[in-house]
Structure formats: structure tokens, C-alpha cells
């Protein structure tokens, strides 16, 4: 333990409105802390720069899963344990629960929030590929009001995003229109539990009369932040999944991927595995789904 608890102020105003008022008073001065599974690790290592922290833990307005006719709305303070336990969500959008089961083990999942995962913005964030594949939108909130942006536009650079200093992530909106899509999520890493992904791919696609009418590909660790693979999507969209299509999609992915080299893996390995995962998904699309 290198951090000094007395060097940081931590307050818990207890309601969303009170937190937003505090953020608005002096934008940029307060850092939100939800489950703390990123920030307390930084604190332990003595590299938590924020001097003032405001707790989001226990705020009911941030921890909920709402089922609407057209969408699921997930509060940013919802834990991965909550997400795994929600039967309707798991049945309809199964990639979410599967990703949630990867975020460390049980004790971590009971604290780690989906909002913290997205705002922390690791290129390897495990919830990101599924959210990208499901065309998620994020809802941001401040005393100025709320706004919604496509999740695919949320991250702007390594660990950067579109949040203003007085804003919080309030919720994630997941459209309920994937029941007839083919869905795919695979993470490649050293160990299933407790291991950061080297590469992960989430995908949804609609195949009608043998033609891919809709496809979304979301990748972790194929860029400095989680990203859609728009060029690879374009190579498949409107086509039959032939060997040629697969080759074109692989090439497109290799051309657009900009993975980083780090201690977990090399950029070259990530690109090749990313292309292989895409190929695996596309080959699955050729097999007729079981009724």
C-alpha cells in the first residue's frame, strides 16, 4: 500500500442531484468513484492523482436495469454482478452477461460497475465489444441536462472520452432488436477469470436470404480505445459470406486495426488474432441457425 488515505478527500453526497451540483460548482476538481476497482488499485500503487473524490456507490438513481418496450436502460452504477443476475437481459442480449462474467471474479463483479468500465476506457475493457455490437447509446447527465451519444463515438483517444468535466455517465441504452441476429463474443487472453484480454471481438449480424443485411463488429484491444470496425463491416454488408467476402473482411480489418504493443501482447499478434476471430464469426454465419 503506497497511497496515503489522508492525502485524498472523499465525500458521499448520497444523491445524483447532489453529486451533479458538486461537479458543477467546480468542474474538473472532483473525480467520481463508483466501485473503486480501478481507482483503489491506483490508490494502492500510489498513483491516484485526484485529491478530491466523490462517491457514486449506493446511489439508486445510477444502479438499475429498466426494461422498456424498445430498449433496456442500464444505470452506469450497475455492477457486473447485477447484469449477470438479470434473466431477461441475459436471455435477450446474452453477450452482456457473458462479458460481465469475465470482469475478474465474483468479488470484483460485485463492485465493478459498467459505467466505471466505460469511463475508465481501457482499450481492453470487457464490456465494450458487446455494447458496440448491440449499437448501444450512452446517456450523459449534468446540471445542464442530459444528452445521448452513440457509444461508438464515446471514446475519442486512449483513455479519453466526450464527457465534459461536470458530466457523469448516467445510463446505457440497449435497443431490443437483436433477437433474430446472430451474436458472437470471444475474448482471447491467458486465463478465463481474472485476466485482461489480449483481443476481444463482439459481433451481431442479420442474414436474410443468404445475404448479410446488417452487421456490427466491436473490438477491444485492436485500437487505443474500444472501436467499431467499420471497414470490415462494409466488406461484409450486403454480401453473401463467401471465401472472397471473408478474405476481403480480413484485409479490411488488418488495414483498419491500430492495436498497441504492451506487456500483454504485441500489435502484430493482436491484428492476426482479431482477423481470425472475425473469420470464425463469419464462418458461423454460413451455418444455418438451429430453429
Amino acid at each position: 500500500m503506497r497511497g496515503n488515505p489522508e492525502a485524498h478527500e472523499l465525500v458521499a453526497p448520497g444523491s445524483l442531484a447532489a453529486v451533479l451540483a458538486l461537479l458543477a460548482e467546480s468542474p474538473g476538481e472532483w473525480m467520481p468513484i463508483a466501485g473503486g476497482t480501478e481507482l483503489m488499485v491506483a490508490h494502492a500503487a500510489g498513483r491516484l492523482d485526484a485529491k478530491k473524490l466523490v462517491s457514486l456507490w449506493g446511489i439508486a438513481d445510477l444502479r438499475f436495469i429498466e426494461t422498456r418496450p424498445e430498449s433496456f436502460v442500464i444505470g452506469a452504477g450497475t455492477t457486473f454482478g447485477d447484469l449477470r443476475a438479470h434473466a431477461d437481459l441475459a436471455a435477450e442480449l446474452p453477450l452482456i452477461a457473458r462479458a460481465a462474467s469475465w470482469i475478474g471474479a465474483i468479488a470484483n463483479q460485485n463492485r465493478a460497475t459498467i459505467g466505471g468500465n466505460l469511463v475508465n476506457g481501457s482499450p481492453a475493457a470487457d464490456s465494450s465489444p458487446a455494447l458496440l455490437a448491440y449499437d448501444a447509446e450512452v446517456e450523459l447527465i449534468s446540471v445542464r441536462g442530459t444528452r445521448r451519444v452513440a457509444y461508438s463515438g464515446f471514446h475519442t483517444a486512449y483513455k479519453r472520452n466526450v464527457l465534459a468535466p461536470d458530466e457523469l455517465l448516467r445510463a446505457i441504452h440497449l435497443p431490443r432488436r437483436f433477437a433474430r441476429h446472430r451474436q458472437y463474443l470471444r475474448k482471447v487472453g491467458p486465463r478465463r477469470a481474472m485476466a485482461i484480454a489480449k483481443v476481444a471481438l463482439g459481433a451481431t449480424a442479420r442474414v436474410e436470404n443468404g445475404v448479410v443485411s446488417e452487421i456490427r463488429l466491436g473490438a477491444a484491444s485492436l485500437a487505443p480505445f474500444p472501436t467499431r470496425l467499420h471497414r470490415a463491416e462494409a466488406a461484409v454488408q450486403g454480401r453473401r459470406v463467401t471465401g472472397e467476402t471473408i478474405e476481403a473482411a480480413r484485409s479490411a480489418l488488418l488495414a483498419e486495426a491500430r492495436p498497441i504493443d504492451d506487456i500483454r501482447s504485441t500489435a502484430e499478434y493482436r491484428r492476426r488474432v482479431g482477423a481470425n476471430l472475425l473469420q470464425e464469426f463469419l464462418l458461423e454465419l454460413r451455418v444455418e441457425p438451429r430453429p
Binding site: M1, P5, G36, L53, A105
Partner: protein, 169 residues
């Protein structure tokens, strides 16, 4: 200087406690230093090893990653709360019986993770036990004896009970 410290209220193993402490102090340190409950161990200090696992409002958490202010008002269960009236908890007995504990550093966390697992799923299969304990690392036992201990406790082996009296100091 500590005038700015909040008073934190916890119910620890059924007892109400109030502690004045920096808000960012880890629940782990409050348990060990302020409350002298040193059963909860620190291994990695960063969420990886599970030796600091406790239950907070019925949820398994790593106490090294909980700033104590976020535990305000919470019910905390630690390894010290498992034994009742000098009688070891069935899981504790099973760990002794089956060789689930060697050096003992991981044991309090393993016991809390196993307690949490059995509270939700009284008869887990091996895969469920592995998942339930996946966040708890052990450098001594090779895990198999720990899994066997959990299976034995779940089975509620009665034979175990008599034999344990000798170990239970």
C-alpha cells in the same frame, strides 16, 4: 488534523461499531487496525488475490478495494464471525479435515468466498466451486483440497464433526 475525519458506522459480525477514520482508508485496514480483526489478510492489495475477501451487505467484496466511507452503514461479515460459541463453522471444519489450509494466508478469504458461494448455492458442482473461488489464490494447496473441503462442507459430512474437536484449540 483528524477533525475532518468522518465517523463510520459498521455492523461487524453482528456488532455495531463506530470508528473515526479517514474516508479513503481501506475497509481492510479499518478491520485490521481500528477493529483489531486481523483474520482478514492482505495479499496483493490490488484485487487480484482474494485474501482480503469479506461480505458487505451480503455481497462478497475485496476489502482492499473498498474505501471505508463506501461501507458506511453496512453489515460486514469477516472470518471471525464464522465460528459460533467456540464451535467452528462447517466450512472451517471441512478445511481442517480435508487439508484445505496449509500456511493459512489465503484461508480467511477462501472461507468467506466459500461461505458466500454456499449461501447462494448450497450444492455447487465443481465448476461452480471453481468459479466461486476463482478470485482467491492459494500458493500452497494446489486448490484441489480446497475444492474438496467445500464439497465436504456442502455434503454436511457428520463424520467430520467429531474429528474436528481435536484441531479446534
Amino acid at each position: 488534523m483528524n477533525n475532518g475525519w468522518p465517523t463510520i458506522h459498521l455492523t461487524v459480525n453482528g456488532q455495531s461499531r463506530a470508528i473515526r477514520t479517514p474516508a479513503m482508508k481501506r475497509l481492510l485496514d479499518v478491520l485490521r487496525e481500528d477493529l483489531r480483526l486481523t483474520g482478514t489478510k492482505e495479499g496483493c492489495g490490488e484485487g487480484e488475490c482474494g485474501s482480503c475477501s469479506v461480505r458487505m451487505n451480503g455481497e462478497l467484496v475485496n476489502s482492499c478495494l473498498v474505501p471505508v466511507l463506501q461501507a458506511e452503514g453496512a453489515e460486514i461479515e469477516t472470518v471471525e464471525g464464522l465460528a459460533r460459541n467456540g464451535e467452528l463453522h462447517p466450512l472451517q471444519k471441512a478445511f481442517l479435515e480435508c487439508g484445505g489450509a496449509q500456511c493459512g494466508i489465503c484461508t480467511p478469504g477462501m472461507l468467506m468466498a466459500a461461505t458466500h458461494l454456499l449461501a447462494r448455492n448450497p450444492h455447487p458442482d465443481l465448476a461452480e466451486i471453481r468459479e466461486g473461488l476463482a478470485g482467491n489464490l492459494c500458493r500452497c494447496t494446489g486448490f484441489i483440497r480446497i475444492f474438496e473441503s467445500v464439497i465436504a462442507a456442502a455434503a454436511g459430512s457428520t463424520q467430520m464433526r467429531g474429528e474436528q474437536a481435536g484441531h479446534a484449540r
